[in-house]
């Protein structure tokens, strides 16, 4: 995968591109992408993958002009437009799934294939989603992964945690402020910006993928998404939690085979 930059009306966007096959756009979750992201690598074996970073993620420029859901949705369409893509397979994980669903809802005739991997965007009072913004970094792995050890390893590899070192701490705080600062605009304090009322507009063939053991956005939400989108199929995956694309990569990639 190559990291590139493309101009969009609001801000230059950094994106990963690689692989061959049908065009697929992947929108990342609030945690961003891992370096050499294994899920992107697996997708690239079957698709031409485009994975744009939201402003503030990785080394990309922040964008104060993006403030709310409609800004994020249209910005993501701006990226697709700038990449010159026409009806790519649209895949989003967690926050990225929320944005992908919004994109399909505002422009239902422009998306024919949509994969939502444990998407955010709904709120059920009986199943409150834990507050990731107030979680301490070392608490996250247990919430996000079925296998906490595997998760801690994976997250650790992204930047060895060393909170005792002031320079590392500064780097960590800056990254966190940039990434979750951006994510907070659509997820804080409740990750619901009205998507539930717009799901009916989605015309894409939709597959919803969920980890059975998701503790962040529990599987009750999977059912709600399935019920809200006409014809949507739900794929539940065992021994996986919220980070299902990293935990059961092959099964998630296989769930997209129906778009072939």
């Amino acid at each position: 995968m190559e990291l590139r930059t493309i101009a969009t009306p609001h801000v230059p966007v950094r994106y990963f591109e690689g692989g061959s096959g049908p065009a697929l756009v992947f929108l990342h979750g609030a945690g961003g992408l891992l370096p050499q992201d294994p899920f992107l690598a697996a997708l690239a074996r079957k698709y031409r993958v485009y994975a744009p970073l939201l402003p503030g993620y990785g080394d990309s420029e922040d964008c104060s002009e993006l403030r709310d859901m409609i800004d994020f949705t249209l910005h993501s369409w701006d990226v697709v437009e700038a990449l010159g893509l026409d009806d790519p397979i649209l895949v989003g994980h967690s926050m990225g799934g929320m944005i992908a669903a919004e994109m399909a809802a505002v422009a239902p005739n422009d998306v024919s294939r949509l994969a939502l991997l444990a998407p955010a965007g709904l709120w059920l009072d009986q199943f409150p989603i834990p507050d990731i913004f107030s979680m301490l970094p070392f608490q996250l792995a247990a919430f996000l992964f079925y296998d906490e050890k595997f998760g801690a390893q994976l997250m650790g590899a992204a930047g060895t945690m060393n909170f005792g070192d002031p320079e590392w701490l500064k780097m960590f705080l800056v990254r966190n402020a940039r990434q979750l600062g951006t994510a907070g605009k659509i997820l804080f304090p409740i990750p619901d910006r009205g998507l539930g009322g717009r799901l009916y507009r989605i015309k894409a063939r939709t597959v919803i993928v969920w980890g059975e053991n998701d503790k962040l956005i529990p599987p009750a939400y999977a059912e709600r998404f399935r019920a809200g989108i006409a014809g949507a199929e739900l794929v539940m995956i065992r021994e996986a939690a919220h980070m299902v694309p990293l935990e059961q990569t092959a099964q998630v990639v296989a769930a997209l085979d129906r778009f072939a």
Binding site: D62, S64, R67, F133, S134, M135, L136, P166, L169, K170, L173, V174, N176, A177, R178, Q179, L180, G181, T182, A183, G184, K185, F188, P189, I190
Partner: protein, 420 residues
């Protein structure tokens, strides 16, 4: 020098094992710890203390805003200030302040502060904090990365509302108002003096400098730890070529305990200091700083680590450590005078927010400590910064002739007036 007697209004009954059994004193504090009947006594007792402080000759009495907080009983400081306006005569009412990004629409603050200014005869000193992340983001749900923009807009709207004599339309990003035309309007024209509590954001330094507002650092960790931050502010004042370096451009909050001897101070106040620092400041670290609340520039300035809330470490500190580290200034009047002078000179501040009621301290101890401070310490510090004694830009300008509350005339017998 201006001295303000400041009360946080802490809940005094947090259990001994609060740290072990409870996650946080703030945001998700256990509601079962609150006893409404007890609060009736507390509120009235705390207001009595503020009124008592006014009789001792403090320049101001101060209140602030916190939400869902075990050491602050004032979600609405304006309610407290309104009662103080009626029960005091000459003292400044320092409301430090209203978290203006939280009011919808923020003209509410322009109105309520104007009311306080009118009721008190021009005694209001107004504060506009951005608000802590705990209050603003976690309790009041403001989006962290947008908080400052919303704050800025609220500020601009309030100032314009105070300054404009014509109704105006305000097309903000967060506020759409067709007719802004506040009524009542403040006595202090064009606006009451403004203090901005800050926590080290470079943006806040600049904001104060640009508008001639006083920058106040409301820390609990004392003046020694505050040096880096305040130096950062004064460096910025110099860099931006501000017209002057008046110490009244800055204020500082300090925990102070006065007794007749140093040993007596520890004996009298040790347990209350311990209560405050160990129970009241037990805040879950996840609530301290929602990602996006601080700007990247502020984090990168690297200063945060030096004055980050050190809640977890207080447990290990002895009274001696607290005194030597400057967390508290405690001891005999002479000891306190020396340390206060060091504080005032090293931080170059003209406003002191005196935290003389601490944690679960009973009224009589707070009164004793405050009285000693007012009578034996304060007069000796008054004359510092003599060259700027006439700098009144940052303090209230009350009416010369003010109403006396409770002075209605006798009821006349109007029935006796014959009909025409």
């Amino acid at each position: 020098m201006k001295f303000t007697w400041f009360d946080l209004m802490p809940w005094p009954d947090l259990p001994k094992d609060f740290r072990e059994k409870h996650r946080s004193v703030w945001v998700d504090i256990d509601a079962r710890l609150f006893d409404p009947a007890r609060s009736h006594l507390l509120y009235n007792g705390y207001m009595d203390l503020l009124e008592y402080a006014a009789t001792l000759g403090f320049d101001g009495i101060g209140v602030n805003e916190h939400h869902q907080n075990g050491y602050g009983l004032m979600p609405s400081p304006n309610l407290i200030a309104a009662t103080l306006a009626r029960r005091t005569q000459d003292v400044a009412l320092v409301v430090l302040g209203n978290s203006i990004a939280l009011y919808n629409p923020p003209v509410r603050v322009a109105e309520e502060f104007a009311m306080l200014d009118c009721i008190s005869g021009g005694r209001l000193v107004a504060g506009f904090p951005v608000g802590t992340s705990m209050d603003t983001n976690y309790c009041y749900g403001q989006i962290p990365a947008l908080t400052r923009e919303k704050y800025q807009e609220a500020h601009d709207l309030i100032m314009r509302a105070w300054h404009s004599l014509e109704p105006f339309a305000f097309n903000g990003r967060y506020n759409k108002l067709r007719y802004v035309n506040i009524w009542p309007r403040p006595i202090q024209q064009p606006n009451p003096p403004i203090h901005i509590p800050g926590g080290g954001s470079v943006e806040t330094y600049d904001f104060c400098i640009d508008h001639t507002y006083s920058y106040s650092y409301l820390s609990f960790t004392g003046y020694i730890r505050a040096r880096a931050l305040m130096q950062g502010y004064w460096d910025r004042v110099a860099e931006r070529n501000a017209a002057d370096h008046s110490p009244y451009r800055a204020g500082f909050a300090q925990t102070i305990c006065v007794a007749d001897t140093d040993a007596a101070a520890e004996r009298l106040y040790g347990e209350h200091v311990n209560y405050f620092y160990n129970r009241c400041l037990h805040v879950f670290p996840g609530f301290a700083d929602a990602p996006g609340y601080r700007t990247i520039r502020t984090i990168q300035s690297g200063a945060l680590s030096q004055y980050a809330p050190a809640g977890a470490t207080f447990a290990k500190l002895t009274w001696k450590d607290m005194v030597e580290g400057g967390h508290i200034i405690a001891g005999s009047p002479e000891t306190v005078r020396q340390r206060m002078e060091e504080l005032i000179k090293s931080l170059h501040v003209g406003h002191i927010f005196c935290l003389l009621h601490i944690g679960d301290m009973p009224a009589e101890k707070a009164m004793y400590s405050s009285k000693l401070f007012a009578e034996q310490v304060m007069p000796k510090l008054r004359g510092l910064h003599p060259e700027l004694a006439n700098d009144h830009r940052f303090w209230c300008r009350p009416l010369a002739k003010r109403a006396t509350p409770g002075s209605l005339p006798p009821v006349p017998d109007l029935a006796a007036v014959p009909a025409q």
